[in-house]
Symmetry: C2
Subunit: 470 residues, 2 copies
């Protein structure tokens, strides 16, 4: 049902011509998402310039029952930003860095700031904002917080949720909650910011946030180890974690098949070892001190693991270029897979100690379901978050393979749930995984979420049809 013209006119009046987009060609990108699964509709794309404008727009929508679909960089992977009527509320114009207090290790940013710009501003002030993911050149921090983005640095720095000290939110009725504070300790009632972080825009619109900053890394040591199986890789992780603790910044698992794909298709991917191994671990330590003996620390761990037969070989990068070459092996995997036909993906996690078991059991199940399927399990072993990706059997029909996506997801998600894992480790629920919510979440948990949703957004205007909303 289209929004009443009077409401749209009032909204246009609030944001002015700069904040109003209704030319179909300009609206079009806001109606789709990266994987081309959904095609949305909306009455307009609204681009407010300030929190006050956001509040006024939401108030008008609330009074008229017009759905509001917040959007940041629109890089989400579960259709969470795809509108189904109503207005798209795009935060892109709200891209000011309001404050940066290096001594307090905090910066206040508006929701439309691009993540890469935040990283740059922090670095220029001699600090680190560690959230880092593939889409950082275009994703916006409001979206990162609304989806509790993960990324490559979770092992050391945590998810987006762990990087926030305060929020400013426009509530579903248009009131503004100013929760912007830069405190490390504050026990004055319920910690409301956690309601909105990870809520995917269904409980309110995040308009600004106070982010935590960290010391910049100045020392780094990178290595790759070769092992026989995921159990060995996991054992190495245990040792690296216990020995290096907070300096352990990355621990990625790479199966041989992924390295083969890279060697086969992409320049710059080089096998660092003479012999072929079944599995590899990419390990990186960082430190704020340039003179921190990270290389020796890594060497101690790897030598011990070699002597104890946990790994078969290891190489420590002796230059930034060599470290880059090791990382290239890992970063090339998604690209390399594209050259091998269709790929069915999962975004799952299990308790870290159960990753080898998961890989073994899931592999057996999918191989039974699709004979000849090529399993490519790689990723953030340290977080228990495995990209359990399947490349199609060689010389088969790609479409027929991809038609099996939901079947295979069902098999893998059933297993993940049985193993007390998550069917959406990073990407969220959006529209794509609502069926999984109903299937896998307990009735009590669903009821709790619906209770929270109904309490904060009784009219159901905030991003309807996403996460839990009806």
């Amino acid at each position: 049902m289209a929004a009443p013209e009077s409401v749209l006119a009032a909204i246009r009046n609030v944001v002015g011509p700069k904040g109003w987009v209704d030319d179909p060609a300009e609206v079009a990108p806001h109606l789709v998402e990266e994987r081309g699964r959904y095609q949305g509709t909306c009455d307009a794309v609204v681009r407010p310039a300030s929190t006050d404008e956001v509040a006024a727009v939401v108030r008008l929508c609330a009074e008229a029952g017009v759905p509001v679909v917040p959007q940041g960089g629109n890089t989400g992977l579960v259709g969470g930003g795809v509108p189904d009527g109503g207005i798209v509320l795009c935060l892109a114009r709200m891209n000011r860095i309001r404050d940066l207090d290096a001594l307090n290790h905090a910066m206040t940013v508006e929701a439309g700031c691009v993540l890469a710009d935040i990283q740059t501003a922090a670095a220029e002030a001699g600090t680190l904002f560690p959230l880092s993911l593939g889409a950082e050149g275009s994703c916006q921090i409001g979206g990162n917080l609304s989806t509790n983005a993960g990324g490559v640095a979770v092992l050391r720095y945590g998810n987006a949720r762990d990087l926030v000290l305060g929020l400013e939110v426009v509530l579903p009725d248009g009131r503004v909650w100013d929760g912007l504070r830069a405190l490390r300790k504050d026990n004055t009632g319920y910690d409301l910011k956690h309601l909105f972080i990870g809520a995917e825009g269904t409980l309110g619109v995040i308009t600004a946030a106070v982010l935590k900053l960290f010391p910049l890394p100045h020392g780094q040591a990178t290595a790759m180890a070769a092992a026989a199986d995921p159990d060995a890789v996991l054992a190495l992780f245990g040792r690296a974690h216990d020995a290096c603790g907070d300096q352990l910044t990355a621990f990625e698992m790479i199966p041989r098949i992924a390295l083969d794909f890279g060697l086969r298709h992409l320049p710059g991917v080089v096998d660092p070892f003479a012999r072929v191994h079944a599995h590899y671990a990419l390990v990186e330590l960082t430190s704020p001190r340039a003179d921190e003996p990270l290389g020796p620390a890594l060497e101690t761990v790897l030598t011990g693991a070699l002597e104890d037969g946990i790994i078969a070989d290891a190489v420590i990068a002796t230059s930034e270029a060599q470290a880059g070459a090791l990382w290239r092996i890992r970063e090339a995997i998604p690209e390399a897979q594209k050259h091998e036909g269709g790929s069915i993906k999962h975004d799952v996690s299990v308790p870290t100690s159960r990753v080898p078991e998961f890989i073994a059991r899931a592999t057996a199940l999918v191989e039974a379901a699709i004979p000849g399927v090529r399993v490519v399990p790689f990723g953030h072993l340290g977080d228990g978050n495995v990209h359990f990706n399947l490349s199609q059997p060689e010389a088969t029909d790609t479409d027929a393979f991809l038609d099996r996506w939901e079947d295979v997801n069902r098999i893998v998600h059933d297993l993940v749930t049985e193993m007390d894992g998550s069917f959406s480790a990073e990407h969220g629920i959006g529209r794509l995984k609502r069926g999984e919510m109903v299937r896998y979440k307990s009735a009590v948990e669903m009821d709790l979420m619906r209770t929270v949703k109904a309490a904060l957004d009784p009219k159901g205007i905030m991003n309807p049809g996403k996460v839990v909303g009806g």
Copy 2:
């Protein structure tokens, strides 16, 4: 209004004789709290042995509208566990450690486990559970999580909230939410555990939790520096933080007056310096590696600070005994203050970079309010959490001084709020600071909290009169 006899009989039937306490002598300790401010009343103290028993008891209370007041070790400092009728639900018998997965760095504990016992169990498995506070020999983890306890290790490891992967909660209607999971990445809907952590028992009863474990520290370096003022101490903090990052485990500020009190009254407190200085900083680094060059790292920071005139002197402990002696200076302060008459206390925080400004302004204000008052500001500078304690003027009436407690709190809390700080950094709201909530929190924030409370506990039976409940 007393609970109906039939309800009490039904509750007694659920928990059996071992779980039922109505002998006034045994009930009495559950009606008071550490600072002797409140005297509560209740119909009985109920001590369930299992989550199912907790659920059954809460269900009976919900049906009859009988208040439920959860209690752990009853070590809280804001009257949060003092009952005003209804039943006290004591978790002490639920003290099993259900699981410990060292490789996954997670342990599952029941709410009644004593914190010190959890620390010991973790250490015996070769890991660290870092939550550590003065009451750890008797406080229970359920209470720690319900109050989002802080303690001495927040600078490095965060608050209780940061140490939880999952929760099991009995909701106000008696249903059990099983949110026990041990995942680092899980974006499947709203992160419900954060509702209950820090809610002080007003939204449900935490019955179990999955806690995060960390590598045990095997290397340690402790130092004390002498400086002219809080600005210098803050500058040293900045340098230590940026140079040592995650290895910085403690950074405590100590004013001269606090050292004088210790020297005057307590054995084992020794001035590590030959000259008198105005302020001191206690700095500690730890590492999982015994061979980590922490001493040299600390020395580099301190030498640089000396050369730049930020500090006047420094001593690095060369033995565990010497480190212990430095810590004794800090740990002795509360005890030493007791020998100097009445003490008016605050539990406040401000942004770390504003601590010196806060101390200066607050000192001026309280000295104007109570001429001769002796200000003793000490504590977790790295968290922005200053124990802004005031010892009475020498040779004045203690009671008359303590009668000024609320006046002085008002002055200090007004200032803290103006400086975007917190009037309750660690201890929570309970009953004691409800007035401050109304005075200092925005109408929108109070309404949001009441909305959440009403949604989860529509009958208002969970710990009524605490935090925000009417």
